[in-house]
């Protein structure tokens, strides 16, 4: 049993906004009170108490990430090292941390839950094995579906009901939590070296299936299946100048269905080409503000080295052609693909300067912090362990202005950031790094400090240097265990995976099996992930 006392508690989900009050923990959960001799007390005077961080969109485990690890030994060499000790496993940090290091680095920010944003069904087993080796955080994962050709074939035939059962079957087979849609139709087109940039145009190889159809059908399926997390959507045309139109059109196509728009920064550009690229965050925020069914995460960039890893094959090929950096590509039969290109964002590069501004603009212009969350699409925009830098930029307008002053002159006319004075409060930060993402993920036991919540609690010094503050939690509790104390990782605990069991007609398997045997290259019985691959999974029944 534990009592945290004397700290300023920020629990926006329960309307607690900096009040000095006790937080009590027993048996891994928040409780109203604790008593007796067995209570450990943590004196949190001078500290703020936050619910543990929830990263709603990150790439930390599985085939694509591991492919990036293979390609970038130079990044591991330059990275922070984790030395083997009786408590800690060895590892490397950097742009694509090894699995144990991933857990330590998140704990080093006060985060306790992460959502692995892109999992192919065919290699889901691999993702779960890596997540098992990622300590200290609970996990969910989103399974890639919007380019699954068996589902697209059904949509072509107008068989949306059957497609829904197939989708649910796949989600259960992968032992996932949510549905991920990346560049709908585009990744399929990439199998022939093409893309799908126009939402109303049929995807190559199809006559009726358009990206718009995939988006609206899949969003509807997710709603009908009553999945806790809405369809998690990486829009078509990522990164392209002028893609604001695609993004707004996408939101219209969603027509009131729930959706979570991923890394919105990469989808907010005006202009006709790289020379005329500009921020359209104002237009996007205005439209987004009027769509209560949608949530989003920022996908902000920071200057420095990163690795781009996405399922958006055509985008990665383009990035390779533009930059000449090494290019990795892995198409996954019938389902999806991934591309990897190391990239460096430079403060002197006009395009990168605009991108830097856009991420911050979206966070500052979208009215409701409950609907826009702090992410960098790790490691695409920046490494997750740099989130504290973004928090500082959001909370301190003077510091932000100093950074804007360093941008190239011609970038200033293309961005809105200089005109924005808003400063985030601690309460709002608690929303965008914890309470909001937890709500979007549909995890009622996360992101808050009310009675019954998981005892995932982060204690930070109330330090005016917000970057230092959020980069060095004094304490971190995970499921009631003190895992970080005075800045050091003291204890290794395993996190759990949370998965869903959607309802579907078991007969869909009879439809699927012969097609699978024909189009895939493994035995059908080996396709679904066995339950025992996940250690102690928390299963949410749906529908």
């Amino acid at each position: 049993m534990l009592r945290i006392t004397g700290g300023k508690v920020y629990d926006p989900a329960n309307d607690v906004n900096g009040e000095v009050r006790d937080v009590c923990i027993s048996d891994g959960r928040i409780v109203a009170e604790v008593a007796g001799a067995d209570v450990r007390t943590i004196d949190a005077a001078g500290m703020v108490v936050f619910p543990g961080g929830v990263d709603v969109h990150t790439h930390v485990a599985g085939g694509a990430l591991n492919f990036a690890r293979a390609m970038t030994p130079e990044n591991h060499r330059a990275a922070a090292k984790f030395t083997h000790s009786p408590e800690l496993r060895a590892g490397v940090g950097g742009t694509t941390p090894s699995t144990f290091a991933t857990g330590y680095l998140y704990a080093g920010l006060g985060y306790t839950t992460v959502n692995e944003a892109a999992v192919p069904v065919l290699s889901a087993r691999h993702t779960h094995e890596e997540l098992r080796d990622t300590p200290l955080v609970d996990k969910t994962c989103c399974v890639l579906m919007a380019n699954n050709e068996l589902i697209l074939d059904l949509l072509e035939e107008g068989e949306t009901e059957r497609a829904k059962h197939l989708l649910a079957w796949h989600l259960w087979a992968a032992k996932g939590y949510g549905v991920k849609a990346v560049n709908p139709g585009g990744v399929t087109a990439w199998k022939w070296g093409k893309d799908a940039k126009i939402l109303s145009e049929p995807v190559p190889g199809y006559s009726k299936v358009t990206p718009a159809k995939i988006i609206s059908s899949m969003a509807a399926m997710v709603d009908e299946l009553k999945l806790p997390h809405p369809m998690h959507l990486h829009c078509n045309n990522l990164g392209a100048p002028g893609n604001i139109d695609t993004t707004i059109e996408t939101m219209k196509v969603l027509d009131g269905h729930r959706a979570h728009m991923a890394h919105l920064q990469f989808h907010s550009y005006g202009g006709d080409d790289w020379d005329t690229l500009r921020s359209e965050s104002v237009r996007l925020a205005e439209f987004f503000n009027g769509q209560p069914n949608l949530t989003a995460d920022a996908g902000a960039i920071l200057f420095g080295d990163s690795v781009t890893i996405t399922a958006d094959g055509p985008w990665q090929h383009l990035l390779y052609q533009l930059t000449g950096r090494k290019w990795g590509n892995l198409d996954v039969e019938n389902e999806t693909g991934c591309g990897v290109v190391p990239y460096t964002y430079k403060g002197t590069n006009m395009v990168n300067a605009v991108q830097w501004a856009v991420g911050l603009e979206l966070l500052l212009l979208i009215d409701d912090p409950w609907r826009i969350y702090l992410t960098t699409d790790h490691p695409n925009g920046a490494c997750f362990w740099r989130y504290p830098e973004i928090i500082h930029l959001l909370m301190n307008a003077d510091f932000r202005r100093e950074c804007i002053d360093k941008l190239p002159e011609k970038a200033l006319k293309r961005i809105h950031l200089p005109g924005i004075d808003r400063e985030y409060t601690l309460s709002e930060i608690a929303i965008i790094i914890s309470a909001g993402p937890a709500r979007a993920l549909g995890m009622p036991q996360k992101g808050h400090l009310g009675v019954g919540a998981d005892a995932d609690v982060a204690l930070y010094n109330d330090d005016p240097d917000r970057e230092r503050m959020f980069g060095h939690p004094r304490y971190l509790l995970k499921g009631g265990e003190v895992v970080v104390e005075e800045g050091d990782i003291r204890k290794m605990v395993d996190g759990r995976e949370c998965i869903v069991r959607p309802s579907f007609d078991k007969n869909i398997e009879e439809y699927l099996r012969p097609l699978f045997e024909q189009y895939y290259t493994m035995s059908f019985d080996n396709y679904p992930v066995e339950m025992d691959r996940l250690e102690g999974a928390d299963i949410r029944e749906c529908g």
Binding site: M71, P73, E74, R77
Partner: protein, 269 residues
């Protein structure tokens, strides 16, 4: 001057990045003796492996067959490091300044990713000298390496600037993916200049060339006359007189660029 004498061959290689003029320049003898040496997974003391004489000097001399002593002179920026004997892997890696002299042989990765300074090897070296570590975009960016003997694979791989001289034979892939700088060879085996972007490779004997290198002309470039004088100060002799012969100029590697230059000396007659 500080003198270290290797007591006996270590059972497994030791890692001695502490042995660099920057580290020892201000240390007293007791402090020197206590410097960390990594012996497999154990951290031991310098005097577990070496006799230690002298203190607080930028001049560091090592005696013995140190071919199993790795990382000597790592990242050094000043002073002199002399090895009377052989040296192990990663000699002078990340070096920024100062000078290293080895009387005998050195191993792989000499001067890897260095950005200044002078390294001289009296015997042979291994591979990847002046090169980029695996995956890194760039190898050495400045400085000079002079090898009296032969060299191994991937000499000057991805180097950007600086000079490498191998008076003997180099093995395959000399100048692989070079971005700039100069490599001078007594000769080489296969695939010299493979995938080079820019830079100059000069071979004093005929070498096999990739099909993606095109013959331009035979000439005696003026710059070589001047360059040759500079190289004499390093004990390197580069022929340039028309009466003695001329250079065949090739450009390549057409697979990536055609701005790389390969000069092959053809003696007269």
């Amino acid at each position: 001057m500080i003198t270290l004498t290797l007591k006996e061959q270590p059972e497994v290689p030791i890692e001695a990045e502490a042995l660099s003029p920057d580290v020892v320049a201000e240390l007293g003898n007791d402090e020197l003796r206590a410097l960390p040496i990594f012996f497999g997974k154990r951290q031991l003391r310098l005097d577990d492996f070496f006799e230690v004489e002298g203190e607080a000097s930028e001049e560091l001399e090592i005696h013995g067959d140190a071919s199993r002593v790795k990382w000597l002179g790592r990242g050094m920026t000043r002073g002199q490091l002399r090895i009377v004997g052989n040296a192990g892997m990663h000699l002078g890696a990340f070096m920024k300044g100062g000078a290293i002299d080895v009387s005998g042989n050195a191993s792989d990765w000499v001067g890897a990713e260095m950005s200044g300074g002078l390294i001289r090897i009296g015997g042979n070296v291994g591979g990847q000298i002046g090169a980029a570590y695996r995956g890194s975009l760039t190898g050495m960016t400045a400085g000079t390496i002079v090898v009296e003997g032969s060299a191994g694979l991937e000499v000057g791989m991805r180097m950007k600037r600086g000079t490498i001289v191998v008076k003997g034979m180099a093995k395959d892939f000399t100048g692989l993916e070079m971005k700039g700088g100069t490599i001078i060879l007594g000769g080489a085996e296969l695939r010299t200049g493979a995938w080079m972007n820019r830079g100059t490779i000069i071979s004093l004997t005929p070498i096999p060339l990739l099909p993606t290198f095109a013959y331009n002309c035979s000439y005696n470039p003026t710059f070589l006359r001047i360059y040759s004088r500079e190289l004499e100060t390093l004990g390197v002799s580069l022929p340039f007189e028309e009466s003695e012969g001329s250079y065949e100029l090739y450009s390549g590697d057409a697979a990536v660029s055609r701005k790389g230059e390969l000069l092959v000396w053809k003696p007269a007659g």
